[in-house]
Amino acid sequence: MSRALKTTIVILAVLVVLGLITLPSLRRALQRISGSSRTEEQARREVMQIPISTPTDVKVNAQMYWLSETSPTSLEATSIELPLSADPVERSKQLLLALIANPPAPERRTLPPDATLLAFYIQPDGTAIADFSDALQQETPSGILSEQMVVDSIAQTLGANVNAIRQLKILIHGQEAEILAGHLDLSGLFPVPSAAQAATPASQAPTTPTTTDTGQTKSGGSAPTSPVPAKKVPN
């Protein structure tokens, strides 16, 4: 065996040993990098979406509408235990935060994980105004089906758990948006089904919202919800 060959073998052996030594730390570094995006998302939510607790909170079984386990084209009610306020506005906020943050499985998610609820109001006529961050518009998968699921899951979850709401207006960052993610019309009001109506299967055809000649919707239909032209909501 020549001297050069021996040297090469020694160098290769040293490299292999060094590789084996550094492998665990490389693996740890990779795990850290892959986990960092989730950590950022969690951190952002911790800052933006502080869990709401009120003196009237009572633990109840809330009916949450996420994608069905068996059919990805429909919603399914899932009962989860949540502390919910007696105040309809706070209760609605608690529900929407849970709808974003607590889906039982990632594939059942309806709203993008980065979406945050910026504000929520209920007008005396039962019109709820939910103001979401840009992420709702930018990160909802484009398509009539997926966009309809977003609106339906919000409307049905509110309808099943809050009595005061009859219709829903969705704003994006405080502004009225023409479309959600390329298809669904956000200019109108979406009827919010009552608890009994929300319990009907989401795949059924919608009943119609009641609309006055000024475009105000008065009572809700069953799922899936579809908007009607509305008066512009003051920002």
Binding site: P72, T73, P141, S142, G143, I144, L145, S146, Q148, M149, E178, I179, G182, H183, L184, D185, S187, G188, F190, S203, A205, P206, T208, P209, T210, T211, T212, D213, G215, P224, S226, P227, V228, P229
Partner: protein, 263 residues
Amino acid sequence: MVVRRKSISTLLALIVASALALRAAPQSAAPSGAAPAQTLQQPAQQAVQQAAAPRNALAVVVLDPAHGGADQGARGSSNITESDIVLSFARLLRISLEAQGLRVILTRQANEGPSFDDRSKIVNAQRGAIFITLHVSSTGPVGTVRVYSLPQPAAPAMTLASNPAHPGLVRWDHAQQNFLDLSRKLAELIQIQMAQRFRGSPEIPLAAAVRQLRTVAAPAVAIEVSSVSVPDRAPLDQMAPVLAEGVARAVAAFRLVYEAGVK
């Protein structure tokens, strides 16, 4: 001053003529979709004049390959874009519809991005037309097709759609309200064909507030194919001729309904 008076008189004459023309038409004409209603264009609030054609004849199909230009629509992981796929669907569908003697107009011929209102203007300028907007979703079981029309409002359509300032003219942003019954019928006929051809597709069409449909003063539906999540576009390309044949059959069936004036 004289010129200004003349223009005011011309404008008034136009408005009066439009109102008279609409009153002269049979009451059922607008709701049944046999004759397209005049519309108000939202930005300028101007009356839209529509081309004359026999009242009961379905002569034109406006195909709308959605998105285009900077807006690619849904995008798959393998660079499949909704705007590309729907354009190829539209080209194939055009051939099937022209074979029936229908005139077919595409809202875009290439990778252009007309606005929602620009696309609506194309169909609203036609008489005896229907409108089909084509989409590919990001989600849903691959190989299925869903057909949508706008949901029915509970209030009388004319109340919602009419413009109090100009009775007889239809508000641009509610132009679809007078055609909801016919749109639903068209959606039913297409959905039946899709359910027969694409396993897993629903048998009944869906109602959704698709923005593009709202400003169309003609029977109008959206067809959405699932989905861009396929590894390559071959499965979508294979769907195209089957989809075109099914839609063409449904349009042929709808033509009878439309020309019979059945709601």
